[in-house]
């Protein structure tokens, strides 16, 4: 199968600032792909280039087989976009705006069904300025999916949410089966909860990529065995524990066996690359 998104050597400069330094990405159809990185890493720059909203300085980009530098209406109809910042406050209701956006597409979904899916059925007749921040984002998603896109871009969709709202938003994204999703986030748990694959971006470079469970060599990383009187890093923690048990003649005081968490891996990746 052809990649939904394929990026090679993507470079972008804003004046003196180099925002992207040779980004490579390959996103398969149907997968949820997360670009994870701290603020200013280049996440928005990357997705906006893929969306056809920004120009690039170098690199090749193919999104659904099309170079987004020259977006066509047909290509636009196959993609859905949820921007990082969208704060328009028009005096229209949720239902009115979703219905209106549906008319732009050749094969739109049923607007009421979409409103239901994003969890705004109870707010369908509320005007936009009356929505909460979380409800606004749900509306943004509704507008992003009403055209029934093959590929959905979500740029930091849950920034500013409380944990409860974030969990409910994740359920919404999990329900978008069949749609390829490119999500950016600076929340590690979000990438872990939603993504089939994650790319970590720091200072405009992808520093690690893969399954969130094995990211940065996490699965194969050495385990740390720690107990009351010591600590060792080892590839064979079970053997170490057996050895310790023999030495103590039974229970080992304050015994723990740990592997780096995704967070440890992520923080290590960011730190390694943050130096000059």
């Amino acid at each position: 199968m052809n990649a939904a998104v394929s990026v090679r050597g993507l470079t972008k400069r804003y004046g003196d600032v180099t925002a992207l330094r040779g980004v490579d990405l390959e996103i398969r159809p149907g997968e949820v792909f997360a670009i994870l990185g701290p603020n200013g890493a280049g996440k928005t720059t990357t997705v906006e280039i893929l969306e056809g909203h920004r120009d690039r300085d170098a690199g090749t980009v193919s999104v659904l087989g099309v170079d987004p530098r020259r977006p066509t209406r047909r290509w636009r109809a196959r993609t859905g976009i949820v921007q990082q910042a969208a704060d328009d406050m028009a005096e229209v209701t949720v239902r009115e705006v979703v219905r209106h956006f549906a008319t732009y597409y050749p094969r739109p979904r049923d607007p009421d069904e979409v409103i239901e899916q994003v969890g705004l059925a109870g707010k369908a007749d509320a005007r936009i300025p009356a929505l909460s921040g979380g409800q606004r984002r749900r509306l943004d998603v509704a507008l992003g999916i009403v055209g029934d896109p093959e590929l959905l871009f979500l740029d930091e969709p849950t920034t500013g949410f409380d944990p409860e709202a974030r969990r409910r938003f994740w359920d919404l994204i999990r329900g978008l089966e069949g749609t390829t999703v490119l999500l950016t986030t600076h929340y590690l748990e979000e990438a872990e909860a939603l993504a089939d694959r994650v790319a970590v971006i720091v200072h405009g470079r992808i520093v690690a990529e893969g399954d969130p469970r094995t990211l940065g060599g996490r699965a194969s990383a050495r385990a740390t065995v720690a107990w009351a009187d010591g600590e060792v890093e080892t590839d064979t923690p079970a053997a170490t524990v057996v050895e310790l048990a023999r030495r103590y003649g039974g229970e080992v005081p304050r015994l723990t066996v740990t592997r780096p968490s995704l967070e440890d891996t992520y923080l290590r990746l960011i730190e390694e690359r943050s130096g000059p």
């Binding site: 920004r54 636009r76 109809a77 956006f101 008319t103």
Partner: protein, 274 residues
């Protein structure tokens, strides 16, 4: 392009444009501030001025109410076109509405079509209300010949076209959504003062008349005076004539100039994202 796109199942720009016009109108008339400042203000002013100044101009039989009606029709048309579009598009740009639209398969022409159609509907409503007030309260006589209505038509259409294009171009001036109203409205109020809307043109110093003559509003008001004041009023003009040929020339030039300005300055993105 539209035909091939439609053949492939994409809705036409005309369809979407008409839908956008309805959407825009609905939005506009729900926005209280906008309705008060751009739509109702000329009507309120007509009621006010017409009640305060009840006299006639000496020797011409022209009533002050007639002069204000002609002037406020000009100002009203620019209000719903230039001022309305200048502010609303600036806000839409800064709040990311334009960027959101640019990310959908909506043809860009449909956006402008929607703006123009909605502004046309607003102008017709605005002018109808102004005329109704003038006829009912001040006994304004509507033109009784075809020539009068024709002049009314072309002055209105050229003025509306120039105002809409200039509004779209002016929307690039404000640096933020918050400043849009001030940046667009203040110069528009000044323009109304120097174009003879509030103060009769004959009372203004020559250099101000010169400045005003560069802009479309003075000529729109003059054209509408030709329609509603009749021959008797021509003597009140600066040159003793309505100069309809110059009205057409200046407004036509602004339509072309406005179109060029739009093509040169229109941006779908805000200053923040380039």
């Amino acid at each position: 392009m539209t035909t091939t796109d439609t053949a492939r199942g994409l809705p036409s720009a005309l369809e979407i444009g008409a839908g956008r016009a309805l959407f825009e109108l609905r939005q506009f008339f729900r926005e209280r501030d906008q309705v008060i400042f751009t739509f109702s203000l000329p009507i309120v002013l007509l009621v006010l001025f017409g009640s305060i100044f009840r006299g006639r101009f000496e020797g011409s039989g022209v009533t002050v109410a007639q002069v204000y009606t002609a002037a406020l029709i000009g100002a009203g048309v620019l209000s719903v076109s230039l001022q309305n579009l200048g502010v609303s598009i600036a806000v839409e740009r800064e709040q990311g509405v334009l960027k959101r639209l640019a990310g959908t398969p909506m043809p860009r022409s449909a956006y402008f079509l929607g703006k123009i159609l909605s502004v046309m509907v607003m102008s017709v409503a605005e002018v109808t209300l102004l005329l109704t007030v003038a006829v009912v309260l001040y006994g304004l006589r509507l033109p009784d010949d075809v020539t009068g209505w024709l002049t009314f038509g072309w002055v209105g259409i050229l003025g509306l076209a120039a105002g809409s294009l200039l509004g779209i171009a002016a929307s690039s001036l404000p640096r933020s959504a918050k400043s849009a109203t001030a940046v667009i409205t203040l110069p528009f109020i000044v323009l109304q003062f120097i174009s003879g809307v509030f103060i009769p043109f004959t009372e203004l110093p020559g250099w101000l008349v010169g400045v005003a003559s560069v802009f479309p509003l003075r000529w729109m008001c003059q054209g509408f005076r030709a329609v509603f004041l009749g021959e008797g009023g021509a003597a009140l003009e600066v040159t003793g004539s309505y100069e309809l040929d110059r009205v057409a020339l200046v407004l036509g030039a602004w339509v072309i100039g406005g179109l060029v300005l739009c093509l040169l300055t229109f941006r779908w993105k805000s200053r923040r994202d380039r």
